[in-house]
């Protein structure tokens, strides 16, 4: 089993304020600068809102991955506690579990 979820040490979170980062979808079709996410917002909620902005289906769960480290962000942890502001690109990826049928 590969578990790539881990905490990333960052500076203490500044209350309030917005957080800037670059995001794209997993196919590279959509890319955008995101500037209006409030610090403290859980990564999972950010992922779902980005899916809506990129006009991707919102009836499936989405996750964010840090391109520079390959780390999947934890849905329930604030985004700004997991990545550095304006320094990394996050990739929006559907949460899928690939595998064959067990006969």
């Amino acid at each position: 089993m590969i578990d790539t979820i881990e905490q990333v040490a960052t500076a203490p979170r500044r209350r309030n304020g917005t957080f800037r980062f670059h995001a794209r979808d997993v196919t590279g079709t959509h890319a955008m600068e995101v500037t209006d996410i409030q610090r403290g917002t859980p990564s999972g909620a950010v992922a779902q809102s980005l899916a809506a902005r990129m006009e991707l289906p919102t009836n499936v769960p989405w996750s964010l991955r840090n391109d520079s480290t390959g780390v999947w962000l934890r849905d329930d942890v604030a985004l700004d506690e997991q990545v550095r502001e304006n320094a990394e690109t996050l990739t929006l990826t559907p949460k899928t579990h690939l595998g064959g049928c067990r006969g």
């Binding site: 859980p42 779902q48 809102s49």
Partner: protein, 265 residues
């Protein structure tokens, strides 16, 4: 259970309010109770305290969203009043352990004291905020996150020695270059929402990124009640979900909005 064992607050909320208001100098009137320019009326769901107000002097007073307590300006027709709404259901439930510190003051009296003190932007004497762990335990995970379409907003629990409030940005930063008619439209949107929904205040406030449009419920001075807190949380999250897309649209100066041009003419 013997009916005589039922606490008076649970069986007769209106009587409980009446006792509390009378003990604080209110006298019965035709439509409720009155005391020096303030009136109170008890409905099935809410106790509403009310003061007549004059139009606010431009820039001279503290915005509603930054005041302590629940007093807020509400527009009805052409008149504007100050309203303080308390959910009446507070009286019909048992307090949980850790809530409502034991004092000689009954819950209805404590609520009236809160309203009276916050009318002067003060807190009842000796008031302390609840323990942060207690309040955190009242909330479900993600309770401070509101998502509406492609927008997501993160609220804050403000818990300081002299502050107990919930604050959510509707617009985290109002663009400084936003035309005056768009700012006016945002102000009207905020005023309308504030008039329509109880407990919640909506308006401009200064956040770290600059002026923002926020929704807030300020419980500073209130008894430590889970029900009161969760009622406020539900109200403020509903307001944010209701307004956020409209506010975001109005704050986007690159979009053309003919309706405002018609109003200007």
């Amino acid at each position: 259970m013997n009916p005589d064992d039922t606490p008076p607050n649970r069986s007769r909320p209106k009587e409980a309010w009446g006792h509390a208001l009378a003990s604080r100098g209110f006298t019965p009137a035709k439509d409720g109770w009155r005391r020096a320019g303030m009136s109170a009326s008890a409905e099935a769901e809410w106790l509403t305290l009310e003061k007549a107000v004059l139009p606010r002097p431009a820039g001279g007073t503290k915005p509603d969203v930054e005041r302590r307590g629940l007093w807020k300006h509400v527009t009805r027709g052409r008149s504007q009043r100050l309203i303080f709404d308390i959910p009446a259901s507070l009286l019909s439930r048992e307090a949980e352990p850790g809530e409502l510190p034991a004092t000689d003051v009954s819950l209805p009296e404590a609520l009236v004291d809160w309203a009276l003190a916050s009318a002067n932007d003060e807190t009842p004497q000796g008031w302390l905020p609840p323990d942060s762990e207690l309040v955190a335990g009242w909330m479900t995970p993600g309770a401070l996150t509101v998502r509406a379409g492609c927008l997501v907003r993160q609220g804050e629990l403000l818990l300081e020695p002299d502050r107990w409030a919930l604050r959510f940005p509707i617009l985290p930063a109002i663009p400084r270059e936003l035309p005056a008619d768009r700012r006016l439209a945002l102000d009207l949107l905020a005023a309308d929402a504030q008039s329509q929904l109880r407990m919640v205040r909506v308006g401009r406030s200064e956040l770290p990124d600059g002026p923002a449009l926020v929704a807030a419920v300020d419980l500073t001075g209130a008894p430590h009640s889970e029900f009161l807190f969760l009622t406020g949380l539900e109200g403020v999250t509903q307001v944010v979900a209701w307004l956020v897309e409209t506010a975001d649209f109005l704050a986007n100066a690159t979009t053309v909005l003919r309706a405002l041009e018609v109003c200007r003419e």
